[in-house]
């Protein structure tokens, strides 16, 4: 039987057409068709001055704007300087703070959204409330709920004063406690745990072959994180936060049954990149919970130097040199969804000759289609939400 879904969906999500070939309730094959609202962004960046094309990169995706903006700026800086180490330390710090705040509100909201996939309304609402608190915090400290207009080639457009850094650290500490309580609520919900277990398995070999990135890769046992593997910006100074590859402990079992999602088991002192072997929805949710926890701690470390009074006359931005035309600039970040790689080539007048962005969603969409077969059609929304990919990132 064929079950067509979309491209128009209930709710305010973007267009994508899913065609399920099923035998009874089981999905035999899934054909996903995306790119319905391709905007030609790469083309529209051509001919713009490299500084102005930041607008294009920043608006590529609604919920990874900071990650895309930083990656684009790094690509520009690779062509025009300053060298990665010569960015003003406060500017590099603010960029990393924005990137981690972005990860926080995404992951917290996504954990809540998975509850929506199983109809656990209390969890959905808790997640939405915490996400909203984080978004308002973004607006208070960096001026934009979705962290736009923070980054600029050569530095940042907005600084973070010591007083704000202090306040942000205090607020985050409070929100971390609330997030832990939210996780305890999920841990006690048997009907949620049952639905997540063994649903939408992405086997490790498939994840490796398809080059899965981000949460989807780490939940399938592929230990990758660009913040550790190709350190950039302020992350280079905080490498000890990421530990050695393969350092993350196996999940703890609370009895004889399979392990369940819940509050992160890593204690305060533990460092590493959360990785699980199971590859199911449960593992993807747990990776998000653990990364949220890690981000809260990483933010405390990142905010530490920002709480001190900056040296007088340290600029937020340094001027760029002329753009190199003999090579291409590459910039990358680990967005909440995984690797976001921006590639830039300039002409002799400092304008964009070619701009290309490959975001995590582009890399991971083919994985969704391969995680679905064998599951029930009604579980697909849950599987899709556990990947939480973006349509706009393909329609760029």
């Amino acid at each position: 039987m064929e079950v067509p879904v979309g491209p128009i969906h209930a709710g305010i999500i973007e267009p994508g057409h899913f065609r399920f070939s099923t035998i009874g309730e089981r999905i035999l094959h899934l054909d996903a068709r995306l790119f319905f609202t391709h905007r030609g962004l790469e083309k529209s960046a051509e001919g713009l001055p490299a500084g102005r094309a930041l607008v294009v990169a920043e608006h590529l995706c609604g919920v990874c704007s900071a990650a895309n903006a930083v990656a684009y700026c790094q690509a520009v800086e690779a062509l025009a300087g300053p060298a990665a180490g010569d960015l003003p330390p406060r500017a590099a710090g603010v960029r990393a703070v924005a990137l981690e705040l972005e990860r926080l509100y995404n992951h917290v909201g996504d954990v809540g959204n998975v509850c929506a996939g199983v109809g656990f309304a209390a969890g959905t609402m808790h997640g939405a409330r915490l996400r909203e608190a984080l978004l308002r915090l973004n607006e208070t400290v960096l001026g934009h709920r979705y962290l736009r207009h923070v980054c600029a080639p050569g530095g940042v457009r907005r600084g973070l004063s010591p007083r704000f850094a202090e306040g942000l650290a205090r607020e985050l500490h409070k929100l971390r406690r609330e997030f832990d309580r939210f996780c305890d609520l999920l841990a006690d919900e048997d009907s949620l745990q049952e639905r997540l277990l063994g649903t939408g398995v992405l086997p490790r070999e498939v994840a490796v072959a398809l080059g899965a990135v981000g949460v989807a890769a780490r939940a399938s046992g592929v230990d990758v994180d660009l913040r550790r593997d190709l350190p950039y910006g302020a992350y280079a100074r905080h490498q000890d936060e990421f530990g050695e590859p393969g350092a993350w402990p196996a999940p703890r079992r609370g009895g004889l049954g399979p392990w369940r999602i819940g509050r992160t088991q890593a204690d305060l002192g533990f460092r590493g990149v959360p990785t699980y072997d199971a590859g199911d929805v449960r593992a993807r949710v747990q990776v998000r919970i653990d990364e949220t926890h890690r981000s809260f701690l990483l933010l405390q470390a990142l905010l530490e130097p920002l709480r001190e009074e900056p040296p007088a006359r340290e600029p937020l931005r340094v001027p760029l040199g002329p753009l190199a035309t003999d090579r291409a600039g590459v910039g990358w970040t680990e967005s909440p969804r995984g690797a976001s790689v921006h590639w830039l080539m300039a002409d002799t007048e400092g304008r964009v000759l070619r701009y290309h962005a490959r975001t995590a969603s582009f890399a991971n969409w083919p994985c969704v289609a391969l995680a679905a077969p064998g599951n029930m059609v009604p579980d697909f929304p849950l599987i899709n939400k556990s990947f939480e990919l973006c349509y706009a990132c393909c329609d760029r």
Binding site: F35, H38, G40, E42, K43, S44, A45, E46, G47, A209, L210, G211, V224, L226, R228, D229, L230, P231, P245, A328, V330, W332, A339, V341, W343, M345, L353, R354, H356, R358, F362, A363, W365, P366
Partner: protein, 136 residues
């Protein structure tokens, strides 16, 4: 690399544990008469040395822009190659999926949006005086 060495070069990267970063095509016919295609890989971290980025570059003849598909050796690039075919008209020979990925089925067969012969933005913006004058 020469076209016949492309698949091997990419397979060697994957075999060494490198991960695909991105695939970029450029239309550089104005500069030196060719299309270029680049496969970027990130080599894994070794001890305290951070990973390294390798770019495998291929020149494609403007008259017959096609290249051997890497998808069979590195499935991670299969969407990238379909996208390059749609937007640049560079044909991945032996790609397992001949369908369009990005463009609508009704899009004309011989128009490739990212080739530089098509302007990046309309010469006159709709609704402006210049556009009305052009229409009249």
């Amino acid at each position: 690399v020469p076209p016949e060495a492309l698949v091997d070069a990419c397979a060697r990267q994957i075999g060494a544990g490198a991960r695909l970063l991105t695939v970029v095509a450029t239309d550089e016919r104005e500069r030196d008469g060719v299309f270029r295609l680049r496969y970027l890989f990130a080599a894994p971290r070794e001890g305290s040395h951070p990973g390294r980025i390798t770019s495998i570059e291929l020149r494609l003849d403007a008259a017959h822009p096609s290249f051997p598909s890497v998808t069979a050796a590195a499935p991670a690039v299969h969407w990238d190659e379909r996208e390059v075919r749609d937007l640049f008209g560079l044909e991945p020979r032996g790609h397992p999926d001949p369908r369009r990925l990005v463009l609508d089925d009704d899009w004309p067969d011989d128009r490739y949006p990212l080739r530089r012969v098509l302007p990046a933005r309309p010469r006159s913006r709709p609704g402006t005086r210049a556009a009305r004058a052009a229409r009249a």
